[in-house]
Symmetry: C2
Subunit: 340 residues, 2 copies
């Protein structure tokens, strides 16, 4: 398969036009498109443009609202509950987080639970955005059951990522990790590119090990780090379920299909009040003795940031099939796209 | 090495007497001893009586206060900052958490940061205790630099455990995991018992792989789950440092030595407001297809709970050396013990 090479601005403009054509107001389309392109630029294609055709189909069939931005209900001065009204994930989440910033600054801690919201995309984006504002941010979101328990062989957990942002100079620490060995987005990306999985990453539907990404799609993927990663993923899903009332386990839908309303949950916790800078510590870690003399020790976010800067300078590669699918979408309604 | 078999009550009573002899008021001694014995009973000897001789030496030399319980300062109605005044870890932490419960119930979220506090012991205890009260609890604590970064070869991070409690019936989910492949307590326990480590667990002081627990003590242990576990451990340490002002990295002391004041940080976040029970989900996971037909899928906390019940019924085994050390402590100050 040949990749299409493009610059970020062109790809983002394409994504934005497709969203606007689908009925998304311009600022929201820019927000959603930005999330997808930052993921591409950071080398996370699983959370990039790959997600756009599905999102456009979801808008077309009414499972994603192009205009809703979430209904806010403050349960206390530092706890915001948001009904996402099936809006676009990043649009609902960014609006919710911006509303919570002041509460976190005033009270030292604040939380925000979100239900009925579409896929957030790259969770680290939110943690990084908040950390740039001087806040510690823990972000969690659940997803369709794709991961087998440690000691189990069927998909019972979402890939349940955890994001953590901690302010530092010149850049914050930004952790963004699925609690699975890999994300299902990566399985899809491998399937799209025809690249086999690594052994130990996945089981097929019968519960047997497989390296075939297509077989893994109907099977399950492994938790990362054995029993601990499983425990973390399950704990996060139980926590989000308990606090948001979102669906859990095999009842979760709407993040990998076209036609089910999204019923997973999102949870953010913001903390303020710097007592000490983390900058010196992170620099000490970066400067510590290396396993490979040619590769400095990295802090979470460093490599994605370097990759992002490369992408800004040199452009990105998009899978040919995906690019054709996107431009075909565009072709369907050329007048609408131009009219905008 | 021969183990000494004892029942829980006898061992807890010994620990309590030793603490009282050292000047700890009776209720605080019971609290500290309970933490150590629950760890023994749950099969976590690394956080059990092994810690007691050091704690007694710390009390004797003034690096642990037998009587201080922490100075509380509310920074907002939902954020408690505690100066632990070098009190006993569990005594300071339980008092702090109990003070925060009501704030979490009223506001939906509350946090508590603690500095200058001795070793907390088994972090899951606190998460389980809060979850039994109906609260979600995230607990974090840092520790001396023992873990090498992913891609690095020297100890730059604590074992930085994360605990998570989520209410459920009849028992909460209680996750309690070091972000290292193993805890340094386990290294010490292996050293005490003369049992080699598993390959991949540790590096020696020069940065080379080792299975010798004694060599590992002066080297470093691996993060769990590769880059992700490293990222999580570093993120937690940076977060705790930022919010508590505690020391970080190689500057942390007082949890594995006798003579340095404890300068690590502890952080708890409590959330309330059940929207949905996690019980059914956890039961579905427990009932899901097993990798080994003889072993049901477990939820974090299940195995420790079963082990605890066994220990209550059948007693526990304590390493002979340790038991002799403890009874020798008892022998050293018989008059003081009687005077108390």
């Amino acid at each position: 398969m040949v990749d299409v090479h493009t610059d970020l601005a062109t790809a983002q403009s394409l994504a934005e036009r497709l969203l606007v054509t689908a009925g998304v107001p311009s600022p929201a389309a820019a927000q959603q498109a930005e999330l997808l392109l930052i993921a591409e630029a950071k080398g996370m294609p699983s959370h990039g443009l790959l997600r756009l055709p599905r999102l456009l189909r979801r808008i077309a069939n009414g499972t994603a609202s192009p205009t809703n931005t979430g209904k806010h209900e403050w349960l206390s001065p530092c706890y915001l509950s948001v009904d996402g009204e099936q809006g676009l994930g990043p649009v609902v989440a960014v609006r919710a987080l911006e509303a919570v910033v002041q509460a976190a600054e005033r009270h030292g801690v604040a939380a925000c639970s979100i239900t009925n919201n579409n896929h957030l995309g790259m969770l680290g984006y939110y943690a990084g955005r908040m950390a740039e504002r001087g806040l510690v941010c823990l972000g969690m979101t659940t997803s369709e059951a794709l991961v087998h328990p440690w000691g189990g062989t069927e998909a019972m957990l979402g890939t349940n990522p955890l994001a953590l942002g901690v302010p530092a100079r010149p850049h914050p620490l930004v952790l963004d990790m699925a609690t699975s060995q890999i994300s299902m987005g990566k399985v899809h990306d491998h399937a799209l590119r025809g690249v086999p999985l690594e052994p130990g990453w996945a089981l097929d539907a019968a519960g047997n090990p497989t390296v075939d990404p297509v077989a893994a799609k109907s099977g399950s993927i492994a938790p990362f780090g054995g029993a601990k990663g499983y425990g973390l993923g399950l704990g996060l899903e139980a926590m989000v379920t308990f606090l948001t009332g979102a669906a859990y386990g095999t009842a979760v839908g709407g993040t990998l299909d076209d036609d089910r309303p999204s019923n997973k949950g999102d949870l953010f916790i913001l903390l303020s009040g710097a007592r000490y800078s983390a900058t010196d510590y992170l620099d000490q870690v970066r400067g510590s003795r290396r396993a490979d003399p040619a590769t400095p020790v990295a802090v979470p976010g460093d490599r994605a940031r370097a990759r992002y800067q490369q992408s800004v300078a040199n452009g990105i590669d998009i899978a040919d099939d995906l690019w054709r699918e996107l431009t075909a979408f565009q072709g369907v309604q050329p007048e609408a796209a131009l009219a905008e």
